[in-house]
Symmetry: C2
Subunit: 275 residues, 2 copies
Amino acid sequence: MMTTDRKQGLVVKIGGTEGVDFQAVCEDAAAIVRSGQQLVLVHGGSAEATALGTALGTPPRFITSPSGYTSRYTDRVTLEVFMMAVNGKINTLLTETLNGLGVKAFGLSGQDGSWMVATRKTAIQSVENGKRKLIRDDFSGKIDSVNPSILFALLEMGCVPVVAPLARGAEGEALNIDADRAAAEVAAAVKAETLILLTGVPGLLAHFPDEASLIQTLKPTELPQAVEIAQGRMKKKILGAQEALDGGVGRVIIADGRIANPISNALSGAGTWIA
Amino acid sequence: MMTTDRKQGLVVKIGGTEGVDFQAVCEDAAAIVRSGQQLVLVHGGSAEATALGTALGTPPRFITSPSGYTSRYTDRVTLEVFMMAVNGKINTLLTETLNGLGVKAFGLSGQDGSWMVATRKTAIQSVENGKRKLIRDDFSGKIDSVNPSILFALLEMGCVPVVAPLARGAEGEALNIDADRAAAEVAAAVKAETLILLTGVPGLLAHFPDEASLIQTLKPTELPQAVEIAQGRMKKKILGAQEALDGGVGRVIIADGRIANPISNALSGAGTWIA
């Protein structure tokens, strides 16, 4: 990605609820950047948003779609909690941690400079106790376009972009976006060679939660079947992998983020490789 | 500032505790930017940090220096509250509001890309009930250097930088910095023609709080005397004005931020003009 003479561009996504060791990720990322590799970090922050919302008396509510995907119900109050927890705390702490490790990190969200534009979900079907319900006041969105110019500019300045999952909607409004899908779209936009999705399991498991049932490789043609096998948030990672490959990314690795050197381990062959 | 053929560069600072009307500032800023003017917005967020800290069970504590300046006591817990309230909420909401007004806003703090570097105050003298005390666990800092490259790059991309008052310390740590002083240093770094400090009074008052005692003009040589007259946070604005003028800024205007069109009003002659 990034510079035309460099084909090993790397986008790494770390989740907020999945037991990923942020310190280990930052240490590994710093070592990789010092070796000359360009890297973009994309993060979630659901656990922080849940904790902050709960502490402030507005605990999270979740929406389950008819096809079984789960997402955070983001009314206006929740959006502002999300801004504080994800754009304020997680993004700022990751940037600070990387700075402390000798990397020049740069925190931003997709609404800054409107480089990630999303369409607000104005009517979301939700299934509650078997009944369908329509939700109309949600501030979440589906990414329409990613303009990577600012990422290229930051990489040229020697920075590691640290991306929070907020995008800009059609009316200028901030929208909560799925961090796995955001990472996939970013990887496609910068033509990354590799997208790594770090999570709290060793990769896609054929028989969740049996970690011995790790699927080591997947072909793009096997992804529709993999979506069926995947449980919970893993479904979105498979969708993200599909989007990234469709967008020209060389390979997607879903790997364990709970261990030391999680990025290097993934690059060395651990996890589920999709290519 | 910014481009060599443009001498009307403008930096505007809005406070967090002073009754400034953020919506009115954004509307005025958007109109000014649409007219072709380049603008950088710097904000505080003390009121939000106080409200959030209080809601989370860690109400703010303030330090009064022997010379009478007041600042927030920023231990590690308070620093993270500050990140959430100021970098997370205020910065993200201002960026969202400007985006909604048709401006391409870009939120960032001084630690992003390490463009604002500060020295941590490792031993702060505090006066409590007439007694001096030394505070050693504070995460606030005094700005050492401002590298305006990222601001120039954003302005070239047609963005309005929206700057949160966090800087990077020597060890990479995030530091709370004074927003008035930050605005002054930013204005000097970009060689702004005008720095406007918007606040909850019409300007420097000879007899605070008598608003009829507004001082309309000040020469740089009168600033030491003005510091003596100034009450509370106005002292830091006068210090900021001095720093900005010393750094080559054409003029500093301390003006009323509670009214409609606060920026245009200041530029038309309202407030205290210092030049």
